[in-house]
Amino acid sequence: MSRLSRDDVLKLARLSRLKLSDDEVERFQSELSNILDYVETLQSVETDNLEPTSQVTGLTNVMRKDELIDYQASTDALLENAPEIQDHQIKVKRILG
C-alpha cells in the first residue's frame, strides 16, 4: 500500500497549481510515497528540549533605510519578459466575473 492515495496526489497537485497527466499521477503516487517513507526515519529521533532551526547564522530582522536606491533594472527591461502587455502593464486573464 502506498502512503499516498491517488486522491492525495491530485489534492497536492491542486494545491501546487499543477495540472498533472494521468501517467504523472500514477508515477508520483509511488515516487512521492517512497520519498515520504524515507524521510519518515526522523520520527523516531528524540528532540525534546530543542528549538527548531530555520536560520543558521543567528541574524534576525535585518533592517535598512526605507529609501529609493538606484537599481540596474528598468521597467521596460522587466516588461520585456512578460508574456502579454497592454498600456505598459502586464495583462492577465480576467480575475473578477
Binding site: K19, T41, V45, N81, A82
Partner: protein, 472 residues
C-alpha cells in the same frame, strides 16, 4: 597547451599588456567549441564578452588599472542572472528569459576585470546530483563520457576540467558544488552560509543556498572567494567576512584534524576508501594531529534535508506562475487554469516532485510531524558540529561515497539520486564551510576529499586545502 596559468598570473600579464583580453576570450570560446560534445555549456555570451574585452584593452591602453581579474574569462552556472544572454536555470519554464539585472557576484567579478563567457548546464533549478534533470541535456564527465559529471553544478565543474575557463561559479544547496568537484577532479568551495551574496541567483532552498567557485587549484578558489565574499545590501542574509581569504602559511602543521567516523561507514566504495586513507596518512605526515570524531546524528542530515529543501523549493518556485515572466500557457479558460498549465508544461519531473513534497510537509496536519521535526533534527546536527569543533580545527572525510556513476544509472529512481548527497548535505544543514579537493583516482576516476571548517572558518579551511594540495 590548453591549460590556463594561475588566475593572478593571467591578470598580471593582461595588465602589463603581454596578454590581450580579446585573445583570452577567443581561446576560451575556441575550447568551448572544440569540447562541445561534453555539453557543459547551455549558452554563449560571446558578444558581450568581446565587447568587454575590447573595453578592458582600451582602458589598459590609456594606462588604467583594471583589477585582480583583468581579462580573466569565466563561466557562470545558468542560475546566475547575467546581462547579455539568457538565464534559464536549465528549466523549460525560463526558456528565453533575459535577466533585467545581474547577480551581485557577477558585478563583483566584473568590477575586478573578469569576463563572463558562457552559462553552464545544471539540473533544472539545481535539483539534482548529475545534470540529468536538466531540461536541455546531460553534461558528460570529462574523464569518461558515459558517466555523469555530478550535479547540480556539473556544467561548471566539467568546464573547468575541460580548460574552457580558469574558473566557474556554482551554487551549493545540498552538495551541488562539492559533488561535481569530486566527480571531475576539481576544487569546489561551499563557503559559510551567508558569506556570499545570493542576490540575482535563482533561489532553490534559501536556508542552505550558497554561491562558490570551482577551479583547478586552491589558490585560484581562494582568490575568487576573496573577491565575492562579504555583505551585500541586496541580500540581507549576508554576514561579515574575514579580512582576507588568501593563504598565508601552513594550514596543516600543528592543526587538529578530525576524521568523521559516520562518513567511513558501510556504503563507502572500497576504491574511494583507499584514496581517503592515503590522504589521511599524508595529512598526518604533514604534521597534523589526526583523530576519529563521531557525529551520531549526522546521517540524519539527508532525511532532514529532503524535508526542508522541498518545503523551501515549493515556496520559492511559486513565483513561476506564467503571468509575469517565463513560460506562459496562453490557451486557458481562466487565470487558475493558466497557472496550472503554465507550471505543468514549464516544470520538469523533479521540480514537480519537490514542489509537491514541500506542499505536503508544510500543509496543516503534517507541518509538525515533518517540517518542524526536520528543523529540530537540524538543531541536533548543528549542536554536534559545534561540540566537535571545540576540539578540532578541521573535519575531513570523502565528498561522495562513490566515484562518478553512469549516465542513466540513478535517474529512474529519485530516492537513489538523493543518496548521492549523503556526505555533503550535513554542512548545508549546519551552514559550515566545506570544500572538495582532488585526492587521487579509483579506476581512473577522480575521488574528492571533503574538508569541513568551523562556522566562519573559511580561511583556515582553504589554508589546510592548499597545504594538502602541495603534499606529495
Amino acid at each position: 597547451m590548453d591549460e590556463w596559468p594561475k588566475i593572478s598570473d593571467i591578470a598580471n600579464r593582461v595588465q602589463s599588456g603581454e596578454l590581450k583580453p580579446i585573445d583570452l576570450v577567443k581561446k576560451s570560446i575556441g575550447i568551448i567549441d572544440q569540447k562541445a560534445e561534453y555539453r557543459a555549456v547551455i549558452s554563449s555570451m560571446e558578444e558581450r564578452a568581446m565587447h568587454r574585452a575590447t573595453e578592458i584593452e582600451n582602458r589598459i591602453g590609456r594606462g588604467g588599472n583594471i583589477g585582480r581579474l583583468a581579462g580573466v574569462p569565466f563561466i557562470a552556472k545558468d542560475n546566475f542572472l547575467t546581462l547579455g544572454g539568457e538565464t534559464t536555470a536549465a528549466s523549460n519554464i525560463l526558456r528565453g528569459f533575459r535577466a533585467p539585472y545581474q547577480a551581485t557576484v557577477i558585478e563583483r567579478l566584473e568590477a575586478e576585470g573578469a569576463i563572463c563567457i558562457a552559462k553552464s548546464n545544471l539540473d533544472a533549478f539545481a535539483h539534482g546530483s548529475s545534470t540529468e534533470n536538466s531540461d536541455w541535456f546531460t553534461t558528460k564527465n570529462p574523464h569518461d563520457k558515459s558517466r555523469v559529471p555530478g550535479g547540480s553544478s556539473g556544467g561548471s565543474a566539467a568546464a573547468v576540467i575541460l580548460n574552457m575557463v580558469p574558473f566557474a561559479l556554482g551554487t551549493d544547496t545540498g552538495g551541488s558544488i562539492r559533488l561535481p568537484a569530486s566527480f571531475v577532479g576539481a576544487v569546489g568551495v561551499k563557503p559559510t552560509y551567508g558569506l556570499v551574496s545570493r542576490s540575482g541567483v535563482v533561489a532553490m532552498a534559501s536556508s542552505t543556498d550558497v554561491v562558490g567557485p570551482l577551479t583547478t587549484n586552491v589558490e585560484d578558489a581562494s582568490l575568487i572567494l576573496d573577491i565575492i565574499a562579504g555583505k551585500d545590501s541586496m541580500d540581507s542574509t549576508t554576514i561579515e567576512r574575514e579580512e582576507s581569504y588568501l593563504n598565508t602559511g601552513d594550514g596543516l602543521r600543528g592543526k587538529r584534524v578530525g576524521i568523521i567516523s559516520e562518513y567511513l561507514n558501510d556504503g563507502l566504495d572500497s576504491g574511494v576508501r583507499s584514496v581517503i586513507d592515503k590522504a589521511i596518512d599524508k595529512i598526518k605526515s604533514a604534521g597534523a594531529t589526526i583523530s576519529r570524531v563521531s557525529l551520531p546524528n549526522l546521517p540524519l542530515s539527508l532525511a532532514s534535508y529532503y524535508i526542508i529543501c522541498p518545503a523551501e523549493v515549493s515556496s520559492n518556485l511559486s513565483r513561476y506562475d506564467g503571468q509575469r515572466f517565463g513560460y506562459s500557457h496562453r490557451d486557458s479558460n481562466d487565470l487558475a487554469e493558466s497557472y496550472e498549465l503554465s507550471r505543468e508544461k514549464g516544470f520538469g519531473a523533479e521540480a514537480k516532485r519537490r514542489i509537491m513534497i514541500g506542499t505536503y510537509v508544510l500543509s496543516s496536519g503534517y507541518y509538525d510531524a515533518y517540517y518542524k521535526k526536520a528543523q529540530l533534527v537540524r538543531t541536533k546536527i548543528i549542536n554536534e558540529f559545534s561540540e566537535v569543533f571545540k576540539n578540532q580545527d578541521l573535519l575531513i572525510g570523502p565528498t561522495s561515497p562513490t566515484v562518478a556513476f553512469k549516465i542513466g544509472d540513478r535517474v529512474k529512481d529519485p530516492l537513489k539520486m538523493y543518496l548521492a548527497d549523503m556526505m555533503t548535505v550535513g554542512a548545508n544543514m549546519s551552514g559550515n564551510p566545506a570544500m572538495s579537493i582532488p585526492a587521487g583516482n579509483s579506476n581512473g576516476l577522480p575521488v574528492g576529499l571533503q574538508l569541513i571548517g568551523p562556522m566562519r572558518g573559511d580561511r583556515q579551511m582553504l589554508a589546510a586545502a592548499q597545504s594538502f594540495e602541495g603534499l606529495e
